[in-house]
Amino acid sequence: MVNSDTVLLDVRHLQLSAMAYPPDAKPHKITIVDDVSFTLEKGQVLGLIGESGAGKSTIGLAAMAYGRGGVHISSGEVLLNGVDISDASRKELRRIRGLQVCYVSQSAAAGFNPAHRLIDQVVESTVLNRIASRKDAQARAIALFDTLGLPNPETIGNRYPHQVSGGQLQRVMTAMALCSEPDLIVFDEPTTALDVTTQIDVLAAIKRAIKKTGVAALYISHDLAVVAQVSDKIMVLRNGKTVEFDETRSIIEAPKEQYTRELVNVRGIEHEQKVPSDNPLLTIDGISAAYPGTDIHVLKHVSMQLSAGQTLAIVGESGSGKSTLARVITGLLPPKSGTINFDNQQLPPYLKKRSREELQQLQMIYQMADVAMNPRHTVGTIIGRPLTYYFKLRGKARRDRVAELLDSIEMGTGFTDRYPAELSGGQKQRVCIARALAAKPRLIICDEVTSALDPLVADGILKLLLDLQARENVAYLFITHDLATVKAIADSIAIMHQGKVVRYGTKSDVLKPPFDDYTELLLSSVPQMQAGWLDEAIARQ
């Protein structure tokens, strides 16, 4: 038995279900979470971790007796301060949600009402529930803004949501959750949408606020390294079931289950760094570019080189210009100045001026495999079209080559007649890789190809890309915001910040101190898979 005085949340054999209404079948019940049990003591932080579809957000919302899209508690109990909230009345629920449990969502930008000032939204439930007068509540909110490290805490509340940056909004939303002094806060991926250097600030602010107020929290994330920094205990979830539930240190340092071990060792890929050749395949020389029709320069005199069969990683946060560089290289956005040489030939700046051979040698893979494939084409058409277009393959020759390509991405010929909607996220990205490979390119531009994927799936894709590189001698221009990915596969690295290359060289050179300020900040901001990293990082900064 657990001590009932210190237990805040007691979840017993929780099962969450919803009705599914498929267009071509009878409605039926689906179970989203099954047989999940845990207790959370007052002032403790429990991390819920898992891939998409693990049911972690659904469990977090169940602690507020809230279900999205008709999800409801179909069996089990959720005891909050000893009271089962699964059958609470509407009126009781309103007091639970306003006063005992509060919520911080992934996107504060969408979560705040655009029509009202921030301060009015922050103090709303505190004032309505008569916990404090409006004046006291505002004073409390300003103190919280200060704790959370927001600039101008006195006045920032008078702004409207669109007038404040994403990282700041996330902190304001945390202040909103803390304002009514609840017993429990549900953090639902609060830093996932943020850049890595912003993430560390928000993470530190959240941790500081939790410590200072003594509030308990459910911290939901797909990133184990992040969760490990703020949680006392961690529950690993997969497909709605508990995989492992233990102290944070035990999970990180001595995971018992195979799945947990995989999550801990994610991005453990290593490859031997190759030496750049004297005759590079791609040479970018002094490229400057602006958005069409404007004079706002998003690329300022960018130069770099990539050798055949190697990987150049371009790293940067949002607004660094890394994706714009990809558009310039592909010819979608002609640069204002500078040249691009491919295989010792200058590439025409305009896509329309490029020959079929030039197009064939340079292929692209996108971040969102979902929208990168025509939903009305089959996998066979998607992979087969470049074969017909570039090599005039038809009929059996084309079918055989498609089968070969499907084989090389570790998918069988059974997928030939499937549509993209029938594939999983990882499979979609594999098909996009096969489409790029079908052109037999010498260079593939990979634009954040693993960012939308779950960590383990992303690892599979990275391994595949490395295998293919070894086999086909194809070069990758790998655009990413994720330094862990870079370490795994790059030979050379270019770090970009505000349209400029701030550091460039071989992987070993770039990642070797002494660093410039931005690289230092970037490197020290990447969460490490070890307990206590955040505290050390804050101390260092």
Binding site: L61, R97, A110, G111, A115, H116, E124, S125, Y160
Partner: protein
């Protein structure tokens, strides 16, 4: 001020649009292969008669000159004279315009609150029987032609039950209540015509707002259903709802034409249709321009409300 610039811009656009529309209406009756004089006198007219008429109507002048003299006249409130009886068009339109606006207003006063109310009701009971009943009924209702509703009304309410007159006669000495009673059936018909569209669009608009993340935030803050709707949904729904209302009022202006003919109501629509069949071009041009002006004006109001209600515009970064 940013917002004032936007509003001024919107006004200027409307003015330009109205000017372009006047040109289009004029061109529509001029450039097309039909000749006005020919269509008045018919195929059997003698060449002399045609030439005389053309001279009298100023048709020998270049089209551009006639357009500008027409436009200049309108700017001074002179809409020209009718070909058929030589009467002053502005005089004839005056009273009729009032009658039409009266009829449309009565319909709007009933239809707008009713549509928004039903829309809210359907959202409140989404996917339950009240929603399904309302949605099903409106789906059928939007398919009905105006004259089907109108003659059903006349047949059952006026002829069989005798509650209201079947012909909506109005004259100047009528009191307000007498007038209301006279336009009851045409107004009811118009209400039905716009109600369904307006209700369906209101429902979709509110549902759209209710699915926003900030509504979930408000619910997770433990706010009452009333407060969620009044404080969090409504401020963001106002602009799209006004847009829906304006769009349907514009539609109502058109519906008026047919309804006036059904009920023999002395308004603009009746006047326009009469003169289209008599091929009285100056009257048609004048009426067309007035209808289009209403239409453009209503669309402008919708845009202005959207500008004023947008916090991003009211409070720029």
């Amino acid at each position: 001020m940013y917002i004032l610039t936007l509003l001024a811009k919107r006004l200027v656009i409307s003015a330009f649009l109205l000017l372009a529309v006047s040109a289009l209406i004029f061109a529509g009756t001029e450039v097309l292969p039909g000749d006005v004089a020919q269509s008045i006198l018919g195929q059997s007219a003698t060449p002399e008669a045609l030439a005389n008429l053309r001279r009298d109507m100023g048709l020998n002048e270049p089209a551009l000159a006639r357009y500008f003299s027409w436009l200049g006249g309108i700017a001074q409130g002179d809409l020209g004279t009718a070909l058929t009886n030589g009467s002053d068009i502005a005089d004839a339109i005056g009273k009729r315009l009032y009658n039409t606006v009266f009829l449309a207003s009565v319909a709007a006063v009933v239809a707008v609150p009713l549509a928004i109310g039903l829309g809210l009701l359907a959202v409140r009971f989404k996917n339950l029987w009240p929603d399904k009943l309302i949605s099903g009924t409106t789906l059928a209702l939007i398919s009905l032609p105006e004259f089907f509703i109108g003659y059903l009304m006349i047949y059952f309410v006026a002829v069989k039950l005798g509650w209201f007159p079947s012909v909506a006669t109005v004259y100047e000495s009528m009191t307000f209540t007498e007038r209301l009673s006279a336009v009851a059936l045409p107004a009811a018909t118009l209400t039905f015509v716009v109600l369904a569209h307006m209700m369906r669009m209101t429902r979709a608009t509110i549902l759209n707002v209710m699915q926003s993340a900030y509504i979930e935030t408000a619910e997770l803050k433990g706010l009452s259903a009333f407060r969620v709707i009044a404080k969090h949904a409504l401020p963001n729904a106002i602009a799209p709802i006004v847009n829906v209302v304006m769009l349907n009022l514009a539609y109502l202006v058109v519906g008026v034409v047919v309804v006036e003919v059904i009920f023999v109501y002395p308004g603009m629509g009746q006047y326009l249709v009469d003169h289209v069949s008599k091929r009285d071009v100056p009257v048609v041009q004048a009426c067309g321009l007035i209808f289009a002006a209403f239409y453009i004006g209503l669309n402008m109001v919708a845009d202005i409300v959207a500008i004023v209600a947008n916090p991003r515009i009211r409070h720029p970064r």
